[in-house]
Symmetry: C2
Subunit: 148 residues, 2 copies
């Protein structure tokens, strides 16, 4: 049922749409990252749908935010298993959300340190006193004991 106009896509087209190489797409299939078995045509070639492309876009976000392949596999496996395990899926997502938030916080902290040094250099270069940097310690710019 549903719309009969199910556009089918070759691996090359999916590659173009997602930015993942064909090598990577095959690798992902092999790693069990798809939420449904990848179909083949008469000639044994992979046939994808736009839904699979959407899922791959989500995957890409999960990956780029540091979710390991085994965890994505687990999530995909739950979806594949069908309704009834939504709480588990929810849990994976919430955990990952917290994880990403932590990453952002850590990066922000590093950014603060880096930004302070950038500012210091900018000021000293402007004043013409930059050559006095690092005369005694890390660029004369001790970390104010960041709360860690």
């Amino acid at each position: 049922m549903s719309t009969a106009a199910e556009t089918t896509l070759s691996i090359g087209q999916v590659s173009a749409l997602t930015g993942l190489t064909t090598h990577t797409l095959r690798f992902y299939e092999q790693e069990g990252l798809f939420v449904a078995p990848v179909r083949r045509n008469a000639a044994g070639r992979r046939v994808f749908t736009t839904e699979e492309v959407e899922w791959l876009k989500v995957c890409t976000k999960l990956r780029s935010s540091g979710m390991p392949l085994p965890e994505i596999r687990r999530y995909a496996g739950l979806v594949l298993a069908g309704p009834g395990n939504e709480v588990e899926r929810f849990d994976i997502l919430r955990r990952h959300e917290a994880n990403v938030q932590q990453q952002v916080d850590d990066l922000q902290e590093a950014l603060t340190v880096i930004h302070r040094k950038v500012e210091l250099y900018a000021r000293r270069l402007d004043e013409g006193t930059a050559d006095q940097l690092w005369t005694n310690g890390p660029e004369c710019d001790p970390l104010p004991d960041a709360a860690e």
Copy 2:
């Protein structure tokens, strides 16, 4: 001559202070990440100062924010070479700052996608309609064509 009370630290103490293993500290020396040659005592053992510990703390921030070792080596080399190259150092820092900001932005975007899914699951689980998720597409929660 500065303060004569220059505390000297063993590699084990530095490890405890920085959280880097002794293996890693030796590795870092070998990779040329120090801003001054690491000194040795009569017995040939490494002797560190608190300044080196401060630098290592900066290093740790650079690393955790994704600066590759070769780039840190380059920066350390400039400091080691002494005054006169502050503009180059400044450049490295500014570039890295921009890079980290980009990472934060990318993570925030992924976070948005993930958060939307978390919210969706929370709502559906609450409503008791979670079993209708993923009936047609990636969890019935199409990405609203995020500006990429």
